[in-house]
Structures are given as structure tokens and as C-alpha cells.
Symmetry: C2
Subunit: 183 residues, 2 copies
């Protein structure tokens, strides 16, 4: 296993436990607020979106690159697939579902990808040619991006409680003005 694959899957392997520590059994007072006030996502939406990635994106696109190269573009990613699929599940159930899928997918990728494959190319329907290395790095950074979104929603749930300290808390200021700078 190359350094790149080992390093990337090391991050990917941490995300399920991270979500368990952050969200397991936590009260709705922390999880019932969206990351941004308008059209935002609650933590439950974010975990649902991560589940969609495990179901339809990362490993499927890895296979597409290995089997078809740039001759067959990736399927488009449905960013809202979780909305109907997960409406009856609890947040804890979704975190466990994600953890199971992630573990299965890391096993699959370990069996599919070698260091020599990382420069192989696929065709993204909007972005054009991409490499397998870029796909795997994006999988990991996508985790970081969306877990940050969970943090923003959790912070937002206590926007009113911090009183005047809000002026120092960039995570709250940026929910309303992305360019805000904490004092």
C-alpha cells in the first residue's frame, strides 16, 4: 500500500468514530439547528449525505475509473437523496449505518486499488478528466467539509445562549455572513 492510500484511508477510517463521539446519544438541543439559517442542513442531513456518498459515489466511481477509464463518465451524485430515504431513522441509527458502509467500502477499495492505479483517469460529468488519486483525496476532504457543517449546526443551536461573546465566535458569525471576521 502506498503512503498516499494509507494516509487517505487513515483519515477515512476515523470519521465513523468521530461521529459516534460527537453525536452518540446527544440531546436534540444540540442537533436540531441547520448549519446556515436558510436552506441549511441539520447534523442528520449531513450524515445522510455521507451515507449517499458511500452508497453511490466513491467506490462506484473508483470502479468506473478502473473498468472504463475516461470512456464512460461518472453518474451524477444526488445531493438530496437522503431527504426521503432517511426521514424515519434516528441520528444514532444513521451514524451506525454510515459506519457499516464506510467499513465495507474501505475493505472494497483495499481490494481494488494499488499504488500503480492512482494516476488512472476517469471522466467527471462536469469537471472533466480526474485521476483516481484526486477521487480518493476528495473522499477524505469531503468528510472534513461535511463534519465541519455538523459543527456549524451544533454551534448555531446555541447562538442565543452565548450572549455578547458571539462577536468573538467566527463559527456563529459566518453562519449569517460568510465573510465575517471574529473580533
Amino acid at each position: 500500500m502506498s503512503d498516499f492510500i494509507g494516509e487517505t484511508t487513515d483519515l477515512l477510517r476515523r470519521t465513523p468514530d468521530l461521529l459516534r463521539v460527537l453525536l452518540g446519544g446527544i440531546g436534540e438541543a444540540w442537533t436540531d439547528t441547520t448549519d446556515v439559517p436558510a436552506d441549511g442542513w441539520r447534523p442528520k442531513d449531513v450524515v445522510g449525505h455521507l451515507i449517499t456518498g458511500e452508497l453511490t459515489d466513491w467506490v462506484e466511481r473508483t470502479r468506473r475509473i478502473l473498468e472504463h477509464g475516461t470512456s464512460m463518465p461518472f453518474d451524477r451524485f444526488d445531493r438530496l437523496a437522503h431527504e426521503n430515504r432517511d426521514s424515519d431513522a434516528s441520528l444514532d441509527e444513521l451514524v451506525e449505518r454510515f459506519a457499516t458502509l464506510r467499513e465495507e467500502n474501505l475493505t472494497r477499495v483495499a481490494g481494488l486499488v494499488n499504488e500503480d492505479d492512482l494516476d488512472r483517469r476517469g471522466l467527471h460529468p462536469s469537471l472533466g478528466e480526474v485521476t483516481l488519486r484526486e477521487l480518493l483525496a476528495t473522499w477524505a476532504v469531503h468528510d472534513l467539509d461535511h463534519v465541519s457543517q455538523i459543527f456549524a449546526g451544533m454551534a448555531g443551536s446555541h447562538d442565543a445562549e452565548v450572549g455578547p461573546w458571539k462577536a468573538y465566535l467566527g463559527i456563529l458569525l459566518r453562519r449569517e455572513d460568510p465573510a465575517a471576521v471574529a473580533g
Copy 2:
């Protein structure tokens, strides 16, 4: 213990394990980049800043409110105290130091604060009058704010590796332009 105290300390109690899961034994490829390109903080700086909060801020200010009310303002918080103090420590050592301090401080606060105390007031040197409830809520949201900063640095460490997908990854775009919107 009131719902507010229980709910707030529930979040505060999770942060050490969160940092262990995220950072424990991880390679420098993920941790040697700052959250923003200019004058940013590496994960090690962020954990150092959280340690400073445990050493000099949250519990000290709680005591100040309970002992002096608004008659004696809080001491100012040294946002850069970690720079010299922690330069020889490893990231893993800092996470464990933080975990020990946090556990001690949660025990202290449990012995100091009752629900009836939450509306008691203190004097912030810049913000003016604040309540103990606001101080405790800020302690928790401050954790979320700074752990998000760690995520931004970790994502930034792989900025080049994601290739054209950067256009979709807000966590990378915002490092360079806070108002950027992912495509």
C-alpha cells in the same frame, strides 16, 4: 443539575475523545498545514489554545463571577500563550494534556455551579456584563469553533491533491476567500 448545565457539559466532555479520534497518531501529512494560508493555526496551535482556555479562562472566570460578581473584571485571555509554552510537545502529548485539564475542570465546575447561579453576572474587560450561563455556553461553542479550525487545516493539507474537485469543496475555497460558495 439543570438541563442547561447537563447539556453544556455533555458537549464539553466529548471534545477530548473527539481530538483523540481525529488526531491520535495521525501522520504529519494531515497536520502540518494552517487553517488559513496567512497567519493561520496548525492543529497543534489550536490544541494549545484550548489548553490555555482550560488553564486560565473558563474555570477562573466562573470563580470570578461567583466570588466577585461585576465588581472585578475578568483577566484578559492570552490568545498566543501556547506559542512558547507548547513548542516542544508533540500533538499527541498536547491532546492528552488537554484531556486531563478538561476532566479536572468539569469536576471543578460541577462542584462550583448550580442551576440557581446561571444568571449571576460578571464583567468582561471588553464585552461588559455577561452571565455565567453565557460563559458556559461560550466554553462549549468555543470548542466547536476551534475544532472546525483543525478540520480546515487538515483539509488544506490536501488542497493540491483533490484537483478540479476543489470547486465543490467549500472548506478549501473558504481558506482563501471566506465568502466563496462551492459550486
